[in-house]
């Protein structure tokens, strides 16, 4: 960790144990400290399945790091839990942490705003688990940045036959324009959001690297705000590591990639208010104290990027862009983009502006390249991967394709270039007809697909319709890299809110919850 790592708060330690949650407790004789899953209130609907459960072990005993939350939930009157959940939702609504739904039927064509579902119950990660996650992700991002530098310069990794050439040069996310361009500190990916899941054995494995414009960090911070208020006593007594310094760490990362260090002008580039992550763009700009700009605010003259201000043009040195590669510059990429800035890429090539993340990083979070990451770690770092990846079958290889086709009912098949849970078949949950239809698409374009065994994501307690029930979750920490890598000890825990569902994407009915990384 760099100089921005949080200090353990002494005040927090002193306050431990002498703060209680407020209000609404049930009488002492009714306290069920040993409330069991599937039997006792509020866990009577808590059915343990084959998946690893975050709160209970396979015998139904509470894991030690969940004990405080477990007993607190058993003490709380049901009405009090409902009240806290509502307070949390109201707070999100008032903050404007919403997405817009255009529902013509109900509101006569008017847009209505809904909050992103947030679950009140925190997900707890132990210090030891986190240490491994942190080390593993740091190792992984080092290898991925080395890989990106390699394929955009000497392409040694291709010459050595570690990764097939066709996989890289055939990828729609490979940007020829980036060849030979020096990137500050070799850090192509300055902001990464990796998705981790736990298998049945409870070990964290990496499911996906998001190396383009990962989002969700504002939810990590917003969830913390409301959950800290809902469970102040449990929060204080648990020794939760703070995450509030994320914006400061992001700012330091962006400042570190600037070509000079005095009076660096930094801006967050957003597609604008209609983008579903607009709240996050505005939030980060505000928290960092930098300008939030849209494409129309910027112009390029003589390969220098300027923002249009009331007093004239002002130079911009670093752009944290939250716009996909394709839309960044209509002169170089999609000409129909009205979100981007014409000439931005030339300014970038000329070294007059730094863009984070660098362009062309998408080639390395491709679902087929994912299968090679353990090899890349060994190749570039001569180390064994600390975090495992999931066994991945590349349908572009004929023998692997036939294996996939023969086992469609047990595999998850994903389209290589897609994200957000689209273009995906979850074999065990699909009907025979759906599997057959998918097989046809698979055979028509095998290089576009990979397959993985279906992993039962771990379950965590969630507050659903007045009771506490298990739901499948994943874990998305955010990794910041300039000269050094910094991972704020927290993450977005995404939740599949439908019972039994394994799809956590917010675009498909997922929600999120706060993640508590314990200091000891």
């Amino acid at each position: 960790m760099g100089p921005l790592s949080p200090h353990t708060s002494h005040m927090q330690k002193d306050l431990r144990g002498n703060t209680r949650d407020f209000g609404g407790t049930v009488p002492a004789e009714a306290i069920r400290a040993g409330a069991r899953p599937g039997k006792d209130v509020p866990y009577e609907n808590y059915t343990l399945g084959p998946a690893y459960d975050e709160m209970f072990d396979s015998n139904g005993c509470v894991r030690p790091h969940y004990a405080a939350l477990h007993s607190r939930l058993a003490q709380l009157a049901p009405a009090e839990l409902i009240r806290r959940q509502q307070a949390c939702e109201t707070s999100f609504l008032h903050q404007g942490i919403t997405f817009t739904v255009y529902d013509d039927e109900k509101s006569g064509g008017q847009a209505t705003e809904r909050i992103i579902p947030t679950d009140l119950l925190p997900r707890v990660v132990t210090a030891a688990e986190w240490a491994r996650v942190e080390a593993g992700l740091t190792q992984r991002i080092r290898a991925l940045n080395l890989f990106l530098r390699d394929i955009y310069t000497d392409a040694r990794v291709l010459a050595d036959g570690v990764v097939p050439r066709a996989l890289i040069y055939g990828s729609k996310h490979y940007r020829r324009e980036m060849r030979g361009l020096a990137v500050p500190h070799g850090a192509y990916v300055n902001v990464c959001g990796s998705d981790l899941i736990r298998g049945i054995d409870g070990r964290f494995v990496v499911l996906e690297d998001n190396l383009r414009v990962p989002s969700g960090v504002s939810y990590m911070l917003a969830n913390r705000e409301v959950v800290r208020r809902a469970f102040p006593g449990v929060f204080r007594s648990s020794g939760v590591r703070p995450i509030d310094h994320y914006p400061e760490a992001l700012l330091a990362t962006l400042a570190a990639i600037a070509s000079f260090q005095e009076d660096v002008s930094i801006a967050v580039l957003s597609p604008g208010v209609f983008n579903s992550a607009y709240f996050e763009h505005a939030f980060l700009a505000r928290q960092m104290g930098v300008e939030l700009v849209e494409g129309r605010d910027l112009l390029v003259n003589d390969n220098v990027v300027y923002a249009r201000t009331t007093s004239g043009l002002k130079r911009v040195d670093v752009i944290y862009r939250r716009i996909d590669d394709d839309f960044v510059d209509p002169l170089h990429f999609r000409p129909d983009s009205s979100l981007g800035v014409p000439g931005l890429f030339n300014a970038y090539r000329a070294g007059n502006v730094v863009v984070a993340n660098a362009l062309g990083t998408g080639v390395a979070d491709d679902k087929a390249v994912y299968a090679y990451v353990p090899k890349l770690i060994r190749y570039y770092l001569s180390e064994d991967p600390i975090l495992d990846s999931i066994e991945t079958f590349l349908c572009r290889e004929p023998d692997q394709l036939s294996h996939v086709l023969a086992n469609l009912d047990s595999l998850v098949v994903k389209a290589v270039g897609e994200s957000g849970g689209y273009g995906m078949l979850v074999g065990p949950h699909a009907s025979k007809a759906e599997r057959e239809a998918f097989a046809v698409r698979l055979k028509a374009d095998p290089a576009n697909y990979v397959a993985q065994p279906t992993i039962a994501l771990s379950t965590a307690p969630c507050y659903v319709d007045g009771a506490v029930e298990p739901r499948h979750v994943d874990l998305r920490p955010f990794i910041l890299t300039a000269e050094e890598t910094v991972i704020v000890p927290g993450a977005l825990t995404r939740v599949a809110l439908k019972r039994g569902s394994l799809v956590v994407n917010s675009s498909q009915g997922g929600g999120s919850k706060d993640t508590w990384v314990l200091s000891a």
Partner: protein
């Protein structure tokens, strides 16, 4: 400051001023109508309608319920109270990182509370209450803005928007009482009576302030003098014009003097109207032209601000 940000802050503020004005007029009208005859009340509703809507959107009847619905909640009316609050909130949302969290949450809550309101439910019990609450909420927003936002350039763009809008609104309101009514409703609106002059003062939250200067002796020419020329009353045109000039001297602090000149010249000329104007001369016949001149000059200042600071061509500064 980004030009786009200045634009959004300015319009946020203009829309809020418009919303407050609408809410205040409706509240005062709802409260005062019980003391008026049917005819007088209708005439006075027609003035409110003319003050708050474009001619093509004016509701056909002067029935209190129908007018309230049309002016406050009608989804098809782009200048309704709810529409103004929505526009203000949408502008605020576009500059979410520029305004304080307190400002944003207050405005967002006001919008969320107002958006689903139906006229029927307001009508059940003390309909004026809701509009009074909106006025209070917007005044509160101004106070929150005053004490939570830096009084920098953005703050001055907010002031500029508020006072340009206010100068125009008060001029229009005076015109509807002292000048000739627009054709179409002129036939149905007799000249204001004694009670209408009191209502006019209340429309501008000016009744108490007026009596402190002129006592409770209600004289139309003094009302005009007060609402136009008082330098210390926030809803008087002159007060607004002074604030416009003040705001313009603070925005775009490092713009080259040549670009500032046009705006400052226009603001100075507008202020001169008030520095050298006299109500006696205006009452003799030129009031119409004077009021129309204020509205026109405010539009001119708006255009000059946009040309100099917001919508300028890049080629003019490179």
């Amino acid at each position: 400051m980004l030009s786009r940000v200045a634009d959004s802050l300015y319009w946020m503020s203009r829309y809020l001023e418009r919303a407050e004005h609408s809410a205040r007029l409706i509240a005062v009208k709802l409260e005062s109508m019980i003391e008026q005859t049917q005819e007088d009340s209708e005439a006075s509703w027609l003035r409110v309608i003319a003050a708050l809507s474009g001619e093509e959107l004016a509701p056909a009847s002067a029935d209190a319920f129908a007018v309230t619905r049309a002016l406050a909640f009608e989804p098809a009316n782009p200048s309704s109270l709810v529409a103004s609050v929505r526009q203000a909130r949408d502008n605020a949302r576009q500059v979410r990182e520029q305004i304080s969290t307190e400002m944003w949450e207050h405005l967002n809550r006001l919008y969320l509370r107002l958006a689903p309101v139906k006229t029927e439910s307001v009508w059940v019990h003390q309909p004026a209450r809701l509009f009074r609450d909106v006025v209070d909420d917007i005044n509160l927003f101004e106070g929150i803005t005053f004490s939570t936002m830096r009084h920098g350039e953005g703050w001055h763009f907010i002031a500029l928007g508020r006072y340009i809008e206010r100068a125009q609104l008060v001029s229009r309101l005076l015109d509807l009482h002292f000048g000739t009514m627009p054709s179409g409703i002129a036939e149905r609106t007799p000249p204001p009576k004694y009670f209408d002059w009191i209502v006019l003062l209340k429309f501008c939250t000016a009744f108490e302030a007026y009596t402190k200067v002129y006592t409770a002796n209600v004289v139309p020419s003094r009302i005009a003098e007060f609402l136009l020329f008082d330098a210390e009353f926030p809803h008087a045109a002159r007060f607004a014009v002074d604030r416009i000039q003040e705001a313009l001297s603070h925005v775009a602090p490092v713009a080259p003097p040549a670009r500032r000149a046009a705006c400052e010249r226009l603001a100075g000329r507008l202020k001169a109207n008030f520095d050298y104007g006299q109500i006696d001369e205006l009452a003799a016949g030129d009031l119409d032209r004077f009021l129309a001149g204020i509205v026109r000059q405010c539009e001119g200042i708006h255009e000059a601000v946009y040309a100099a600071y917001i919508a300028y061509g890049a080629e003019t500064v490179l």
